[in-house]
Amino acid sequence: MSGGVRVLGLEKVLSNLNKALTESKKTTKKGLIRAGFFIQRGSQQRCPVDTSNLKNSAYTAWGEGSASNPDFRTSGVSGKTVSPAEVAQMSANHEAEITKRKAAVQGKLAVYVGHSAAYALFVHEDMAANHPNGGEAKFLERTIQDNQAQIIRIAMETAKENIAK
């Protein structure tokens, strides 16, 4: 989506944000990337933690690069364990997803923010789940919803920096 931030499944939440960023005509790639980092960090702070693999699967991707810290683990705070083979699969999926997202926004004024863990969508949408180690459902959606003004401001601030140089 040109001139905006897109997260699959959250189009309604993002429509106002995309509209503001597109209409401003001041949105830069650098600004969108910084806004993406902000959303990624917020989503990581809100997402439920078990093995930390969901949290560590968060990424921001743009045409020329990406940012993530895919430190996938075989055990976590809850005592739940994951096999080394599953960890290897998560790493492979993470790389594949980022490659796909980068290609999708190549040459466009757009970034992708998301979580590569295969179960991310189901944790995100499961309002009935109990998360004893903290975190909540709708972690990505709420990060964007609660911070729309700040996300736009981050994109605009970067534009101002470029003008001042």
Binding site: G9, E11, K12, V13, N16, L121, F122, E125, D126, M127, A128, K138, R142, Q145, Q148
Partner: protein
Amino acid sequence: MNPLSEDIKDLLVTAGVGAFAATSGWGIFINTEPDEPSTSITIYDLGGPAPEECFNRAIKPLSRPSVQVRVRGTSYLTAHAKINDVIAALRRVGPWTASGSTYLDLFQSNVTLFLQKDQKNRFIWVVDFHAVKKEA
């Protein structure tokens, strides 16, 4: 003024999609999904963006609260059919008035998602809606 979940529950009950807190058949619940009945519809309040204010303070703000409707059934297709009943009862139902507030419209926010089978092999589908509401 009620949370959106309460007003959505009333719409679903009126449309005959289920009965509030029923212990058999399709029961409708708010914010907590009980273990029984196996056929249940649970509505969760999700919040929403900050209300839109006007410079004229006499004009009430517009808010956009949202809910998730979670349908649990004993078969994949039965639960899917029920969530389609929910959509038919709710989508673009406005304008209507409830608990002193005026709802201008109600929109489906995403497509239905099959979430999971629970530990008792019951099938769970979810869908979100957001309303445009003029506060009382």
